[in-house]
């Protein structure tokens, strides 16, 4: 958290997570989120975020702080940070992507969607179902028909792992 002297100098915001934890951040950091920016423009300094849980919010605040201090010289540092940021489980990524979508942070949204896409692109449909917690709603006959129609997409070996 920021020290009290800084608080006096800089405009601060309070973000409240879905599980009622409060976080104080600088306004300049928060407004990278379009959702927060709109609220700030309407004069709010207390921002309740009923769709974002504490765990995701902590990570997102980290991200926003890092990216608020973007300069020409720390490009490599931010790249490393981003790489670390997305190096997590699918469930965490889904939670983060939902939060980034709600908060309208487009660069984070793009990075998360691209990460998920890159990680599932070589997987089998069965693995994708498990990763996205989807129950298959096809009958075996229906599924066989689709597989047959797209036979070339099923040539080769696929990644069955769930991470």
């Amino acid at each position: 958290m920021a020290s009290t002297t800084e608080t006096k100098q800089k405009k601060m915001l309070i973000l409240k997570s879905a599980d009622n934890d409060e976080f104080e951040i600088e306004e300049s950091v928060g407004v990278q989120s379009e959702t927060i920016k709109n609220l700030v423009e309407d004069g709010f300094t207390f921002v309740p975020l009923p769709n974002v849980y504490t765990k995701a919010l902590i990570k997102i605040i980290d991200y926003l702080k890092k990216h608020a201090n973007k300069t020409d010289s720390n490009d490599e540092e931010i790249k490393t940070f981003d790489k670390d940021f997305v190096n997590t489980t699918f469930d965490d990524l889904f939670e983060l992507v939902s939060a980034a979508n709600y908060l309208h942070i487009s660069c984070l949204m793009n990075m998360l969607c691209q990460t998920i896409a890159d990680r599932i692109k070589d997987k089998s449909p069965e693995a994708v179902r498990k990763i996205f917690h989807i129950n298959c709603d096809y009958t075996p006959e229906e599924e066989a028909k689709i597989r047959k129609a797209n036979a070339q997409a099923f040539e080769g070996q696929f990644d069955e792992s769930l991470d």
Binding site: C113, H133, N135
Partner: protein, 335 residues
């Protein structure tokens, strides 16, 4: 960030409680997948299939692919096979083999390609062309209405495909280019053929060729007998920008413009050329000013073309329905 939302009525199944991501977010994720993954993931579930087979999704996917520069090199072999290949460590690597299932079109020429659609012509047929998306393997035969001249068969000197957003379809263009230094183009907004002001660098003693390079109109060439070439691209504002000079051409080539065809620019900024006589592929490293011959395990390809990784295929819905009702032996749609 405004996003294209799918109509809810089309995706009734996506309301199920098992989904952990909203449809909007899922759309943003899967739009970044390559075609092969998307075709495979149609059998993940009914809602996934509904998104992937949606026409709007296919168009957005095509645009996303363009933005990401997801291009593949399509090679046509003398044996009649097509394949997707990539240049890696100056070696040609086959990624996927392709075949055209239509009879009489096995040994075809690639006339042109645009956004992942390829126009093919059989060496013997003059009226029939095939529009093909090699990524999804969809194809359609087209009859050209303008070549019904009895006396003489006039083949167009060049050929192009362009997207017309008003009718939401691709148009086939057959511009006839004369030997003067005039650039004519087809304005799809007004449906007229217009003349493009000749850029200052195109002198009378120079020959230039066209290409779409990284979504920009590109001219490359130089003096007729020269062993060097300059590459220029047209910027968004319509101004020509000098990109690079290509020199130190391989010894098997005599003159640059006559012997070398520019194919595309790789992600690393290397420029890929094809030698016209031998069909050999070369890679030019601009920084080192050096050509490297790309090693090819198989016999030389007939022709190489660049193709976007896109799901989109221009089959208007109306026509598709008509085709299903009355299956004709030759399902040709003339436009």
């Amino acid at each position: 960030m405004p996003k294209k939302k799918l109509e809810k009525s089309r995706l009734p199944a996506y309301k199920d409680d098992t989904s952990i991501l909203s449809c909007d977010i899922l759309f943003c994720i899967i739009i970044r997948l390559p075609v092969k993954s998307l075709l495979r993931f149609q059998c993940v579930s009914k809602p996934w299939r509904a998104i992937i087979s949606d026409r709007e999704f296919k168009k957005s996917h095509r645009d996303q692919s363009k933005e990401m520069g997801r291009e593949k090199m399509l090679l046509g072999r003398k044996s009649g096979e097509f394949e997707f290949s990539k240049v890696e460590n100056s070696e040609l690597i086959t990624m996927e083999e392709q075949r055209i299932p239509l009879k009489g079109f096995q040994r075809t020429q690639i006339l042109c390609s645009c956004d992942g659609l390829v126009l093919l012509k059989s060496p013997r047929a003059f009226k029939i062309f095939v529009l093909w998306n090699p990524s999804t393997r969809e194809y359609r035969a087209l009859r050209c209405p303008y070549l019904n001249v009895k006396e003489e068969i006039v083949l167009p000197t060049a050929c192009g495909l362009c997207y017309d957003s008003r009718v939401d379809d691709y148009k086939r263009l057959f511009p006839y280019v004369d030997r003067t230094s005039t650039i004519i183009y087809f304005d799809i907004k007004s449906d007229e053929v217009k003349e493009l002001p000749t850029p200052g660098f195109v002198g009378e003693d120079k020959i230039f060729q066209f290409l779409l390079l990284r979504r920009c109109l590109c001219l490359y060439g130089g003096k007729i007998m020269s062993k060097e070439s300059d590459i220029w691209i047209m910027e968004q504002d319509g101004r020509w920008k000098w990109l690079m000079n290509v020199c130190n051409m391989p010894s098997i080539c005599g003159r640059f413009v006559r012997d070398m065809k520019l194919l595309y620019c790789t992600e690393n900024g290397e420029v890929v050329f094809q030698e016209n006589d031998t069909s050999q592929i070369f890679m030019y490293n601009h920084k080192r000013q050096q050509f490297v011959r790309v090693y090819d395990k198989k016999v030389s390809p007939l022709i190489a073309s660049i193709c976007l990784d896109s799901l989109y295929f221009s089959t208007p819905n109306v026509k598709r329905k008509r085709k299903q009702r009355s299956p004709t032996p030759n399902n040709m749609n003339s436009r």
